[in-house]
């Protein structure tokens, strides 16, 4: 124990302190700010990884780590809970944010004074939302995350950003109002906002108040569905995410996952199979997810710009996750969690690559001598010439363009879910678990539709991304290689390497997500772990006499 017990609060506190320091540094010390930002992000990843290890290393209980903020016991104080799902998502945040932070160092980080501070606040909101065990605290972390995202979305300014940002903020403010209404109704019915306490109080609600509980949960779910970009609440996503700068878009790929997470957490806790209203809203999640999936697939096909393809891919992944969680089968949830990790990395990497592609089309010409290999070879008498008398052989395909092409192809394989990378493993494990579930579920038609839509989404992404690839890389013109800085390449390669690692260690990761899914579908562990955690004795807090435990 000792200091290790406080590890859980570090992902929230460290970005906050870092952000404060970054604001104090002001407009000067640009190098130091960059360094501080990257160091804090790396430390965040390390902390997340060690939380994951400590949660997973404990086979006795289900590995829940509960942190009582201010030393108040559960239903009265706010708790932070790190279970397998939260720890996994913290690591996802760590990896994606590191990629975005590295990439931003090349150019975007210097475009505004408060980029780094906002970046860290956003991380605090994300981490806090994944860790908190209290609904109102979840609202606060949502708002922290959103307030930072409003600033980041507008980073770099310009009319398209301001315009889409205005819509984005208006939609999110409305969703926040709905969040509060739902929250207030749940409090009115149950008298508590602690998630664990809510889960145990749901069974005690009289039948006459059950309608109110359902209404409150449904209104809350609308707010979460807006965040998760479920159809028809997702019109804000594609314009906002394509207009913003690349590292911010990569970071924003995480934000839809917060909505998905909140839905998964609340639905499994409040409406588990053993609760009096089992799987309330499950069918809404399932059918809403299917519609979102279909909408995303159509959007991917209709998109002309690669940035929009990336935005719609995010909607596809949200739809897949919602539908999978709506089924409420542990095996499907486990596969979906693996898919979540793989899809988040892949789409973030795609958002970063998109900017490089766009740089290729907008950049007029590269510096002379940037790469000696780009120089046109000399034409002598024997050179084979095409109709415009340009040499057909000997025109060297720039290596940086080749590398970018390869990166784009890897992104395509990952996003579409083609073999041999982690996207494929995720799709296959989803499909096999869905087919298994089809035998037991009361709605086999929906399940088969989901399998078909998943395959169609793969097809749509493949078509859209390969068309985009052809348009960008094979276009018969003097396409010039974009200048890519080493740090940008590192960010993208890092994210893709994380996907490679997911592929290589698919078995342990899937074992972990299976354990996480089993924890989720047996919420009593969560409730017990939170409610049984006692405050520590201290100078202001004498040891409370415990009633003797009767065997």
């Amino acid at each position: 124990m000792g200091l290790l017990a406080h590890l859980i609060v570090v992902p929230v506190v460290m970005p906050l302190v870092t952000a404060a320091l970054l604001i104090l540094l002001g407009n000067k010390h640009k190098r130091m700010k960059s360094l501080l930002n990257i160091t804090a992000t790396v430390l965040g990843l390390i902390v997340a990884a060690s939380i994951l290890r400590s949660v997973d290393a404990d086979p006795s209980s289900s590995g829940m780590r509960v942190y009582l903020a201010s030393n108040w016991e559960a239903p009265f104080g706010i708790v932070l809970v790190a279970d397998r799902l939260s720890a996994l998502l913290l690591v996802v945040v760590g990896v994606v944010s590191l990629g975005a932070a590295l990439y931003a160092e090349a150019a975007w980080g210097r475009a505004g004074v408060y980029f780094h501070a906002l970046f860290q606040i956003q991380l605090m909101g994300l981490n806090g939302a994944f860790l908190t065990g209290d609904l109102f605290n979840l609202f606060v972390f949502f708002e922290v995350m959103l307030a930072a995202s409003y600033g980041l979305q507008l980073h770099g300014s310009g009319w398209p950003r301001v315009r889409s940002g205005m819509h984005y903020i208006a939609v999110n403010l409305l969703a926040s109002s709905l969040f509060l209404i739902g929250l207030a109704m749940l409090y009115g019915v149950t008298g508590t906002l602690s998630m664990a306490d809510l889960a145990s109080k749901v069974a005690l609600i009289p039948a006459s108040d059950r309608g109110l509980l359902h209404a409150g949960a449904a209104i809350l779910a609308v707010a979460f569905l807006t965040k998760a970009a479920a159809w028809p609440l997702n019109a804000w996503l594609v314009p906002a995410y394509t207009a913003t700068s690349a590292p911010v878009a990569a970071l924003f790929a995480l934000m839809t996952k917060v909505g998905v997470y909140a839905l998964l957490r609340c639905s499994t806790l409040l409406f588990s199979d053993t609760s009096p209203s089992p799987r309330f809203g499950g069918s809404v999640l399932l059918y809403g997810g299917l519609l979102t999936l279909a909408f995303g697939a159509i959007g991917v096909l209709s998109a002309r710009r690669v940035g929009r393809v990336a935005g719609f891919s995010l909607i596809v992944s949200s739809g897949t996750l919602l539908a999978a969680f709506g089924l409420g089968v542990p095996a499907v949830t486990a596969a979906a969690l693996y898919y979540l990790v793989s899809a988040t990395f892949a789409v973030s990497a795609l958002f970063l690559v998109v900017e490089l592609l766009e740089r290729m089309t907008t950049q007029p010409h590269i510096d002379a001598g940037a790469s000696p290999i780009d120089v046109e070879p000399e034409v002598d008498e024997d050179t084979n010439l095409d109709e415009e008398e340009a040499p057909l052989v000997g025109r060297v395909f720039s290596p940086s363009l080749a590398r970018l092409g390869l990166t784009f192809m890897v992104c395509m394989l990952l996003v579409a879910g083609l073999p041999p990378l982690s996207g494929f493993i995720a799709k296959v494990s989803l499909l096999t678990s869905i087919v298994d579930a089809a035998r037991t579920t009361p709605t086999p038609t929906a399940v088969w539709t989901m399998a078909a839509l998943l395959l169609l989404a793969t097809l749509a992404s493949t078509i859209a991304l390969s068309t985009a690839g052809i348009r960008h890389f094979w276009k018969n013109s003097d396409r010039l290689a974009p200048r890519i800085q080493v740090i940008e390449a590192m960010a993208i390669v890092g994210l893709l390497a994380a996907c490679m690692a997911l592929t290589a260690w698919a078995e342990p990761v899937l074992r972990y997500t299976r354990a996480a899914a089993n924890d989720l579908h047996a919420p009593q562990h969560y409730v017990d772990a939170v409610m049984s955690t006692q405050p520590r004795p201290g100078p202001t807090r004498p040891v409370i006499a415990q009633p003797p435990v009767t065997p």
Binding site: F136, F139, V140, E143, L146, A147, Y150, G151, L154, S157, W159, V162, R163, G165, M166, H167, I169, A170, L173, L174, S176, S177, L180, I181, L183, A184, M185, Y187, G188, L193
Partner: protein, 114 residues
């Protein structure tokens, strides 16, 4: 008092929704503000609506909601007000930026519309 409070919440909420559906940014922000007021009053109402009841435990009174007012919704409202105020202020800045960039206050900034 319940009837009055519900009426006020209803009117504020209705006016807020009406204004949000308008295409001008000024109406939009006023609508969002009114809606926030309605939501805050709503949170307030999920506690117990009494006058002159203490929120703290008094040993002379039996600990039921008939004798106390619930302090939790009040603290929730306080937090919600602060957060709502901050985000509205932020939104106002974005609206001004949009006004400056597009030259009019249409939410889509259609050029030519005034």
């Amino acid at each position: 008092m319940e009837a009055l409070l519900s009426l006020v919440i209803g009117v504020l909420g209705g006016a807020g929704v009406w204004l949000i559906l308008q295409p001008r940014t000024f109406q939009l922000i006023m609508g969002l503000t009114l809606l926030t007021y309605a939501v805050n009053l709503f949170i307030f109402s999920v506690g117990s609506l009494f006058l002159d009841r203490p929120p703290l435990i008094d040993t002379a009174l039996t600990p039921t909601l008939e004798h106390y007012t619930d302090p939790v919704p009040q603290s929730l409202v306080l937090t919600a007000i602060v957060i709502g105020f901050a985000t509205t202020a932020l939104f106002l800045v974005v609206l001004l930026a949009a006004r400056g960039l597009s030259g009019n206050d249409h939410v889509d900034g259609t050029p030519g519309a005034s």
